[in-house]
Symmetry: C2
Subunit: 216 residues, 2 copies
């Protein structure tokens, strides 16, 4: 698969297509036109065809898309066939929410272990995942291949922990700490979930609407 | 302020600028050039000037940006001066994480109340926020002005709860349920935090790197 020169915006839409295809498969729908897919996603059919054409030819003129086949293609594009392994760093409320509610396995990921310093947690299993003491991290990583670290420690600890992870060989961090990590290496992939950015974006549009309505 | 015709991509960058300006102010830095700001954010100076020019003239040739003033301008653009009020629907692990760790007030928001059906939670305070029974929602909303509902209920309940909220007059939903809400009204702003989209995006780039390295 050629991945070069594909814009971030196209890639950002891929997981959304996948979610929609999961819904369609769940509803027992086995094929769909780009027109109907567009209507359901609020995109134009040509946008959808253009997005998919970055990766190959998935539809058929006059037939549309085979839902199951397109689902497999997009899963593959998104790297799900690799079955990436993850560890969770920080088992607070958010860590618990991730372990208990996120469904890593459903998304093709394997959450292998969790780490925390809380004596009440260390040694227990949370949602079927064993919690190690954070001091065991280096030892664990020397014995296990881990693709992604999920970072959900308090923000004051975030940078130090992230740099330790990188030092121990982690190449990808899923960052929930709401800060921009300042890493000593450029060779690490970081994906941030910045809650505040998301809420402020909503706030922007709400303010825009109030001002339009003259309620400002 | 003119908000029409400003692209989503520009608006999406605004909260990031704000975070950076908060950092700079915290470090005691009171002015910064677009060049230096660009270096720190991985953007070009012309991109930054172009983004800000959508909203007005914030910098001064040869002086750069006044950090505090730019911070206020961007806060205002993002609607923070409105002091929007929020309620939290669903006080599970994620709800607890939001109440305890997010810092709504620091971001200019007021989290006024929470709702759940768990008898162990109803009537208690979580992080200073009172938890009402979900059956009290309509009554609460008839007596209080609420701008944004934060939706963190189990996904099987998400659509019904979202449509009830809309029926009760809520105009903006911050959606943590990892599903695309199917709302009966088009008049509602929805901002989604789709954890799976974020992880799959990271997975895409990790897969791309492995394939480049020939480890595929």
């Amino acid at each position: 698969m050629k991945r070069a020169n594909i814009s971030n915006n196209v890639i950002r839409r891929m997981p959304r297509y996948l979610r929609k295809l999961d819904d369609l498969a769940y509803q027992g729908i086995d094929r769909i036109s780009s027109g109907e897919l567009g209507r359901q996603l609020g995109l134009t059919p040509s946008q959808i065809r253009q997005d998919f054409s970055c990766f190959g030819e998935f539809g058929q003129q006059g037939y549309g898309y085979n839902v199951q086949k397109l689902r497999e293609e997009i899963s593959s594009i998104l790297g799900m066939k690799h079955g990436f392994s993850l560890i969770l760093i920080g088992v607070g409320n958010l860590g618990h929410a991730l372990v208990n509610n996120f469904g890593f396995e459903n998304h093709g990921f394997h959450l292998e272990a969790a780490f925390d310093v809380d004596p009440a947690l260390v040694g227990t299993d949370v949602g079927g995942v064993h919690v190690f003491h954070s001091s065991e991290l280096l030892d664990y990583l020397s014995r296990n291949k881990v693709d992604i670290a999920v970072l959900s420690v308090p923000r004051r600890l975030a940078n130090n922990m992230a740099n330790s992870l990188v030092e121990y060989g982690i190449k990808a961090i899923w960052n929930f700490t709401n800060i921009e990590l300042d890493l000593k290496s450029d060779d690490v992939l970081v994906e941030n979930i910045h809650f505040s950015d998301s809420l402020l974006y909503l706030s922007y549009y709400l303010a825009a609407r109030l001002e339009e309505d003259g309620e400002n």
